[in-house]
Symmetry: D2
Subunit: 357 residues, 4 copies
Amino acid sequence: MSSDGRVTRNGRLKPVRVAVVGLGYWGPNIVRNLHDAPEAKVVCVCDVSNRSLEKMARRYPAIQRRRSLQKVLDDPSVDAVAVATPVGTHYAIARAALAAGKHVFVEKPLAGSAEEAWELIELARANGLVLMPGHTFLYSPPVNLIRDHFRSGALGDTYFISMSRVNLGIHQPDVSVVWDLGPHDFSILRYWLGENPVAVSAVSRGCVIPDKPDVAFINFEYASGTIAHVELSWLAPSKLRRTTIVGSRQMIVYDDTSAEPVRVFDSGVQLRDPETFGEFQLSYRTGDIISPRVDAVEPLYAELRDFCAAVRGLSQPRSSLQIGFEVIEVIEAVERSLARQGERVHVESTFSATRAG
Amino acid sequence: MSSDGRVTRNGRLKPVRVAVVGLGYWGPNIVRNLHDAPEAKVVCVCDVSNRSLEKMARRYPAIQRRRSLQKVLDDPSVDAVAVATPVGTHYAIARAALAAGKHVFVEKPLAGSAEEAWELIELARANGLVLMPGHTFLYSPPVNLIRDHFRSGALGDTYFISMSRVNLGIHQPDVSVVWDLGPHDFSILRYWLGENPVAVSAVSRGCVIPDKPDVAFINFEYASGTIAHVELSWLAPSKLRRTTIVGSRQMIVYDDTSAEPVRVFDSGVQLRDPETFGEFQLSYRTGDIISPRVDAVEPLYAELRDFCAAVRGLSQPRSSLQIGFEVIEVIEAVERSLARQGERVHVESTFSATRAG
Amino acid sequence: MSSDGRVTRNGRLKPVRVAVVGLGYWGPNIVRNLHDAPEAKVVCVCDVSNRSLEKMARRYPAIQRRRSLQKVLDDPSVDAVAVATPVGTHYAIARAALAAGKHVFVEKPLAGSAEEAWELIELARANGLVLMPGHTFLYSPPVNLIRDHFRSGALGDTYFISMSRVNLGIHQPDVSVVWDLGPHDFSILRYWLGENPVAVSAVSRGCVIPDKPDVAFINFEYASGTIAHVELSWLAPSKLRRTTIVGSRQMIVYDDTSAEPVRVFDSGVQLRDPETFGEFQLSYRTGDIISPRVDAVEPLYAELRDFCAAVRGLSQPRSSLQIGFEVIEVIEAVERSLARQGERVHVESTFSATRAG
Amino acid sequence: MSSDGRVTRNGRLKPVRVAVVGLGYWGPNIVRNLHDAPEAKVVCVCDVSNRSLEKMARRYPAIQRRRSLQKVLDDPSVDAVAVATPVGTHYAIARAALAAGKHVFVEKPLAGSAEEAWELIELARANGLVLMPGHTFLYSPPVNLIRDHFRSGALGDTYFISMSRVNLGIHQPDVSVVWDLGPHDFSILRYWLGENPVAVSAVSRGCVIPDKPDVAFINFEYASGTIAHVELSWLAPSKLRRTTIVGSRQMIVYDDTSAEPVRVFDSGVQLRDPETFGEFQLSYRTGDIISPRVDAVEPLYAELRDFCAAVRGLSQPRSSLQIGFEVIEVIEAVERSLARQGERVHVESTFSATRAG
């Protein structure tokens, strides 16, 4: 993938030339981080809103501004496209970009359905292009620090996980809270546990706008025995991003809004062999609590550099197509459960089997 | 119910003479509060453990101690029995006490099944005796302060409620976490909302002892449209008793472990009439946060005085038989859902209909 | 002051053309806020460091960059200079700018001594120019919300104030912690109370670098009877900016780092008339706690707009020369107390008397 | 000291027979803890208030009740007296008890002046009796855990300590806030640092009752270079017991009201050798934060057992006469500074020199 055109005269890799499509809430953050990344160069931004384009012009006068996506895709100086538009448009924009021979970074979720996501994946493979979903939390230092506790065995068996991601103030016009906030937690769980849930049951409600869920209570069951609960809501008295992980050896509280985002509790319950028949002997252990130092790296910055490295052929993105695809399978399972009034449903798992096979 | 024998020579009501059965974790608190209550007199304590009896003797030498329940029930000087034994024994002890003509206060839950609970209720009615389940949180000042917000309309429509009640260190030998911790939250919800859920779905796991659930994620749906989630666990990094109530006009956070147990958020979302078809206009409102002053009354003290007032025929207990019965109906529905692998099940509601009819 | 040259053809005031001198920690914030302010236009930035200039160029390519202060002052297109250099240089730069006929905004403190500050004030007055010290906290919404409680009488008598401003990680090379952090708290106190302390006693220590105080405990006495304590430190386990105000009717906690920066406690002590000789009757009152909603305005933005309004002759700056001067009188009193091993010293108060007279 | 009379027939030490004098706020806690301690037996309680005596009778019917101190002292079955009366009476009661041959435990402070305290100490020595001041915090697990960090060198050099002990609701009728709350912090500082301050300066105010200080800001200087600030107040929006210790290697926050009373910050500043003349190179280090597990022992229980061990001649009390005496020397120095309008005064240090010599 590293052709001659990718290298400067003095043998260094040229920066990846990126067009950022969509300048709503998240797009400007992508622009700012790509602007700061040595591997990237933002060559153009694209939005249908003149106001958004002008705002960007004021801050980055050197970046080209376009209202037409087609012109962006026709531009041979654009290596890659970063898509930060509403979910409903991800598929069409990403497909057009891949068809035009551009590498594509798509804000999570990858597409509006597993079917669409699979089409994009196949198109990227066929054209030898990088397609990467933007699951930013996979680049968050606290999330990775905690992942080490899962991997090293320090946590012990994973008993259960409880997650709350709630806040007042960001009703999305086009999607439910499950499609909007769910990908964050579903991708984190997938990343930590290395497995997708096998069954899901969920309850939701459209409190403000009927039939547009703005709160959801979701229960997950995993093949390993782990269970998890995820509470998602756009309505809440205060921002809350609290995850509790209970393992057999440690318990961990992860709070993304805290100055101490990770707190490790060296506590647990031990079950000794029953001395008499049927009688279990439990002993509780309460130890120190540690708030490990966490690096202050902006996850989006690390994510976009990972995308650039993939475009340059240097590595596979941590936020992989399998994770991006399986997150959508979970969302679809949650939606199925909701459509059947909270019935427990199975999660499809077709990436490595049927599809990738 | 106020016979002559209930009155002292100078016309004052005599104290209710209570026997406290069961001196484990909770029994001594009942003894202490009855000891301090002017309407009550603890005449005897009863437990199978000599050690528990001796400990009580050291603190209250004037109180009689018995190892035989029968002797307690045979004692004509005992007006009422307070039962604080393991759940599995509630039914048998309460039935024997009612049969012996004693008024009965039973620690929550009232009995080990709705069937048993109904038998006790009928027996109490037939004998003209007070039977009262000990749902202590119904006497908690924060719980009652919040109930006023539900009743007065200050909260607006009740969108959803999310409750967590978790802690490390109290695995119960005889019951699941649902029977142990569930009655607290189920009775609070019933008391606030004035209705029982109509459907339940739940996931649980026996993390430490197989098949003995020590964590449960429970989803409730109500006829009014309200949904609720209750997380119960004996395994957690730290004590957490956090309830979030989201209404259309206010949001409330209730944390029993905090110095400010109730925090009222004057925040909400307003939906204006759609200006164009299909387009909703939302406006967010963020206002002050108020921590109202809460009285520092011990709930158990107020509860036991309420029991004494009922024994004296002065009032009906706030912790009513209907609440006590319907809480068990919820527990049984949760157990049914768990037995069917998390299937969504309906909650029986037979108290006022079939039974009380 | 509003000459013809200040007005555009269509009768609108032209933006104030500002040069920002000093691009260390704070300067870039001034550039960003002036950049966003409609009344201002950053025409040039000036620093001795090429690296700082280049960084600014990358972000704001349209702004001129200069390494020579003289060239900035010689430029007739510059109306005003914003000085964000080390304290030791404030006097010389501000004097040169005033001499060159520029309006001057100087980061706090105004100068390195009261003597120097007075010279600048006289020079500004003589030349009819605006000179304004940058006491940013006077534009902080929480600080102003609290000020209303002082002014309206809601707080009652001001009994005492306790302030802590501490953090790890910002040892200043050229000044003590008193000159560096003190102006924040001293200006807030001056702004709230409307009076400067009359006496000061202080203890300090150079923990890391001998003779360079990095922690100071400062006690203030006011003519009104109010007392105050200010703790300043560059060494602390965690950022702490906690101010407690105890009044006869209310108490207020102000924490700049909190999501709820102002908390008003409706609590107090009431002294009833002594019933018997020499015996005082106290009654404590504990009421609600309120976290009022606070506007999310960046104080520096409001401050720089206030400067522009003053340059345009529309108003007097809230961060006045009197406050700027009297803050330096407090700093000098603290330094005197420290030089005399913590002796209690009087604070000079010469602004309105000798000087302004 | 262990005579025959002290031993039971089977060779075990008889319990120390204690009379508790003073049943106000603290006395009942002493009774409860002595009641639970195996080494002690509360034989009688003494107070001038019949109501206090009756309340005690209700709870501990087996304990004798007396209104006359003389009768208590005349009772040969009383080995020791625990004094929990107002400060102004400590001296007279303790002296009478010592004169009557009783061992004496006196709530802090030991007496109302250093002169009086010295008399008591000499009387106890002359009569071979135990005299012990009740500095309860010396038995607090968090205080001792932190002391280990001082002693082991983990903390490094002790740069400074800042303490706040404030609360609404406990104006003492007979003493200032310095005599009431000061002994807690002064004894903790003395215990941790192993030295008393050499100089003190303080500011105070009688906010509610004129001339009765209810808030004090106190600065301490130590021979070792350590400086400390103690804020004491009966007026505060909320209970605050926060101590910050800044050492060269660690920083510690101690909050007695928190579920995590000790938090150790592995952070600091390092000063490297100046590379060029006059230029210091600092490097900041931010590490993990640890909340060590702390034992849940009631300090008063441990303290009273320590008193009993001393009475039995088994050990010297940790809360020693030297600490008790030197705490009073600090209080008197604070009072001297206050009397001289906050002047910096020296602390007397006569225990080991003149007096003990």
